[in-house]
C-alpha cells in the first residue's frame, strides 16, 4: 500500500515536466507576444523586440523550457511575471489560498446537500422524496452556474441587500460564490448517490442482512451505503479537482481573486511563468486529490486494498 502511494507521488515528476513542456509548446505556436500585449498595438517594433528580449521571451522554446526546469528544481524559483515583474510565487500563492478555501466550501456544501438527498431518494424510490428532488436536480443541472450566480446576486445583494456582491473580506463574501459553484455538483452528487444506492440496495447481501433481522437503519447505512460509496467518492474527488482548478465563472462574477481567473487573464499577455506555475499547482493538487480518492477506496473496500498490495513496485 505504501509502495503504491510513493509510486503515485513519484509520478508527479513526469507530470510536472509534461505540463511545463506542453505550456511552452502551446505558447510557442500561438501568435502574439507579451510586449505587444503590454505596450499596445501602436508601439514601434523596436521597443517591442527590446522588451521581449528583456523578459527573456525571445529565447528558443526548448531553451526556455530547460531554463525553467533548472530554476524550479535547483533554485525553487518559479520565475518573474512578464506582466507585473513580481515573483510568480508571491503572486499566485495568496490567490491559491482563496481558491482552495472556495473549492473546499463548494465540495462540502455539494456533498452535504446532494448525498443525503440521493440516499433518501433511493430508499424511498417512487415516492415524493424521490421524484421532487430528482426533478429539481435535473433542472439545476441544466442551469449554467453564471445564471445561478446572477440570480443569487440579484436576490440577495440587490433586492434584499443581505450579502456583499464582491470581494473576499469576510466569511459572508464566500456564501454566494460557494453556493453558485456547489449547486450544480450537488445535483450531480444526488444523481450519482441515488443510482449507486439503488444498485447496492438490490444486492443479495442486503437481503441477507435483512434476513438476519437487521433493522432498516443498519441495512441502509452499514450494508448498502458503504458498498455504494465508491462512485460517490470518485464524484466528490472529481468535483474537488475541478474546483481547485478554479471556478473561473464564479470568480469573475463575484470579483474574487482566485487562481482560475488569474490564469485566464494572463493568457492574453502570454505571461508564461504565471500560467505555468498556476498549472503546475493545479496538476499537483489534482494528483493529490485523486491519490486521496484511491486511498479512501482501499480503506472502504478490502478487495481494492488487496489489489494494491499485490501490485509490485
Amino acid at each position: 500500500m505504501y509502495r503504491y502511494i510513493i509510486k503515485r507521488i513519484l509520478f508527479l515528476i513526469p507530470t510536472v515536466l509534461g505540463v511545463v513542456f506542453i505550456i511552452y509548446f502551446v505558447m510557442n505556436i500561438t501568435p502574439g507576444d507579451p510586449a505587444r500585449a503590454m505596450l499596445g498595438s501602436s508601439a514601434p517594433q523596436a521597443d517591442i523586440d527590446k522588451l521581449n528580449h528583456e523578459l527573456g521571451y525571445d529565447l528558443p522554446f526548448l531553451q526556455k523550457y530547460f531554463n525553467y526546469i533548472y530554476n524550479m528544481v535547483v533554485k525553487q524559483d518559479f520565475g518573474i511575471s512578464y506582466f507585473t515583474r513580481q515573483s510568480v510565487f508571491a503572486e499566485i500563492w495568496p490567490r491559491y489560498i482563496v481558491t482552495i478555501n472556495l473549492a473546499l466550501m463548494g465540495v462540502v456544501l455539494s456533498s452535504v446537500i446532494g448525498i443525503p438527498l440521493g440516499i433518501y431518494a433511493a430508499v424511498k424510490q417512487y415516492s415524493l422524496w424521490d421524484t421532487v428532488p430528482s426533478i429539481f436536480a435535473f433542472l439545476i443541472a441544466a442551469v449554467p452556474s453564471f445564471v445561478l450566480g446572477m440570480i443569487l446576486l440579484f436576490v440577495f445583494s440587490l433586492k434584499l441587500n443581505l450579502l456583499p456582491s464582491y470581494g473576499i473580506t469576510s466569511f459572508s463574501n464566500y456564501i454566494m460564490p460557494a453556493l453558485t459553484i456547489s449547486i450544480p455538483p450537488a445535483a450531480m452528487n444526488l444523481r450519482f448517490t441515488k443510482s449507486s444506492m439503488l444498485e447496492s440496495i438490490r444486492q443479495d447481501f442486503v437481503r441477507t442482512a435483512r434476513a438476519k433481522g437487521a433493522p432498516e437503519k443498519i441495512v441502509i447505512w452499514k450494508h448498502a451505503l458503504k458498498n455504494a460509496m465508491l462512485p460517490i467518492i470518485t464524484n466528490i474527488g472529481l468535483n474537488l479537482g475541478m474546483l481547485i482548478a478554479g471556478a473561473v465563472v464564479a470568480e469573475k462574477l463575484f470579483s474574487i481573486p482566485g487562481i482560475g481567473s488569474l490564469i485566464v487573464d494572463r493568457i492574453t499577455y502570454k505571461d508564461e511563468p504565471v500560467i505555468i506555475a498556476g498549472t503546475i499547482l493545479i496538476a499537483v493538487c489534482f494528483t493529490i486529490v485523486m491519490l486521496m480518492v484511491d486511498v479512501i477506496y482501499a480503506y472502504i473496500d478490502p478487495r481494492i486494498k488487496a489489489k494494491y498490495a499485490r501490485m509490485k513496485g
Binding site: 424510490q125 417512487y126 444486492q203 443479495d204 447481501f205 437481503r207 441477507t208 442482512a209 435483512r210 434476513a211 438476519k212 433481522g213 437487521a214 433493522p215 432498516e216 443498519i218 452499514k222 450494508h223 458503504k226 458498498n227 472502504i300 473496500d301 478490502p302 478487495r303 488487496a306
Partner: protein, 336 residues
C-alpha cells in the same frame, strides 16, 4: 404428523408491475413438523424462492405482494406481524441460507463481523468477549478456522463462503432453517461436503428445515417430506417414501424422475419434459401442467384439478380423481 413448526395455508403471491401481474405462488399449502425437513422441489421459476421469501416477509417491497393465505409459525401468523415483530423472528427463530454465496455476503465487512451482527441483533447485553467466543464457536462448527474471522469474503472460496453463510444463519440457533438451493452455486465435490454438513448440523441442533432444491438427490439424502412445486402450485406432496417409492405420481413428478440420467442404461440423449412452464402472467384455465402432460385428457384443459389425498400423500391431478380419497375440506381452498 406431530406438532407443526410451520403451517402455510392457501398462500398466494403476485409480483405486480405497471406492465403485468405475475402469479408466482397460487394457493399453496405446506406443513413442516418440528424437527422435520421438508424438501421443496421444482424447476427454476416454479415459485420456490418466492415462497421462502414470503415466509420472512422479504418479498421486494414495490412489486411483491401476498394476496391470500396464512403463514403460521408455531401458531402465530407471520404475515400479520409488523416490521418490528418480524425482525425478531428473522435470524432469531427462522434463518435463511441463500442460493449464491458469492453475492450473499457483504464484500466490505469481515466475516466475523457479519456473524457477530446476527448474534448481537438477537442477544442484547452480550459482552464483547462472549460474542467473540460465539463467533469462534460457529466458525469451528462449520469447519472454518476461527482465526479467519478477520478476513473478508473475497478471501474465501465458494464452498467456504457458503459455510460462512450457514454459520451466520445458525448463529442464533433458529428453530427453522430455510435453505434456498444452498448447493446450487457450488461445484459437485463441494456440494456433497456442504450438504453433509447441513445434515449433520440439523441432526445435532434439532433444527427443522425447509430445503429448497431442484436436485432430487439432495431430497433423498436429507428430507423427511417432499413437496413438488410447478408453476406456483404444489402438484404432489408426501413423505420421501411416498414420492420415491410410491406407485401413484403426478405426471410432472414422473417427468422429473424421468429426466435423471440412468447410469445402467446408455442413452444418447437425456430425457426431458417437453415444453416449457406456462407463462405465469397468463396461467392456463385447467390443469397448469396440461399443456406438457402426456396423459392430458379433455377435462384437464377445462377444469382445474383438486387435491386428492391418500394418508400422507397428496396429488393434484385428474388421473387420480376417482382412485384416491378426496378430502373436501382441504380441496375447497384450491379451487380458483
Amino acid at each position: 404428523m406431530n406438532e407443526l413448526i410451520l403451517d402455510i395455508d392457501d398462500l398466494s403471491v403476485i409480483y405486480k408491475t405497471d406492465l403485468e401481474t405475475v402469479k408466482a405462488v397460487n394457493g399453496i399449502n405446506l406443513k413442516i413438523g418440528k424437527g422435520k425437513t421438508l424438501g421443496l422441489v421444482g424447476e427454476t421459476g416454479a415459485g420456490k424462492t418466492t415462497t421462502a421469501l414470503s415466509i420472512l416477509k422479504l418479498l421486494p417491497e414495490n412489486t411483491g405482494k401476498v394476496t391470500s393465505g396464512n403463514v403460521k409459525f408455531e401458531g402465530t401468523n407471520l404475515l400479520e406481524m409488523n416490521e418490528h415483530e418480524i425482525r425478531e423472528i428473522r435470524g432469531g427463530q427462522i434463518a435463511m441460507v441463500f442460493q449464491d454465496p458469492m453475492t450473499s455476503l457483504n464484500p466490505v465487512m469481515t466475516v466475523g463481523d457479519q456473524i457477530a451482527e446476527a448474534i448481537i441483533m438477537h442477544n442484547e447485553g452480550l459482552s464483547k468477549g462472549e460474542i467473540e467466543k460465539r463467533i469462534d464457536e460457529k466458525l469451528t462448527m462449520v469447519g472454518i478456522l476461527p482465526s479467519r474471522k478477520t478476513e473478508y469474503p473475497h478471501q474465501f472460496s465458494g464452498g467456504m463462503k457458503q459455510r460462512v453463510v450457514i454459520a451466520m444463519a445458525l448463529a442464533c440457533e433458529p428453530k427453522l432453517l430455510i435453505a434456498d438451493e444452498p448447493t446450487t452455486a457450488l461445484d459437485v465435490t463441494i456440494q456433497a461436503q456442504v450438504l453433509m454438513m447441513i445434515k449433520e448440523l440439523r441432526n445435532r441442533l434439532g433444527t427443522s428445515m425447509l430445503m429448497i432444491t431442484h436436485d432430487l438427490g439432495v431430497v433423498a439424502k436429507i428430507c423427511d417430506d417432499v413437496a413438488v412445486m410447478y408453476a406456483g402450485e404444489i402438484v404432489e406432496a408426501g413423505t420421501v417414501h411416498d414420492i420415491f417409492l410410491g406407485e401413484d405420481h403426478h405426471p410432472y413428478t414422473e417427468g422429473l424422475f424421468g429426466s435423471i440420467p440412468n447410469l445402467s442404461s446408455r442413452t444418447k440423449r437425456l430425457n426431458s419434459i417437453p415444453g416449457l412452464m406456462p407463462d405465469p402472467t397468463n396461467l392456463p384455465e385447467g390443469c397448469i401442467f396440461a399443456p406438457r402432460c402426456k396423459y392430458c385428457m379433455d377435462i384437464c384443459i377445462r377444469v382445474h384439478p383438486n387435491t386428492v389425498f391418500d394418508e400422507t400423500h397428496s396429488l393434484k391431478c385428474h388421473l387420480f380423481d376417482g382412485k384416491l380419497r378426496r378430502d373436501k375440506q382441504e380441496g375447497k381452498s384450491e379451487k380458483q
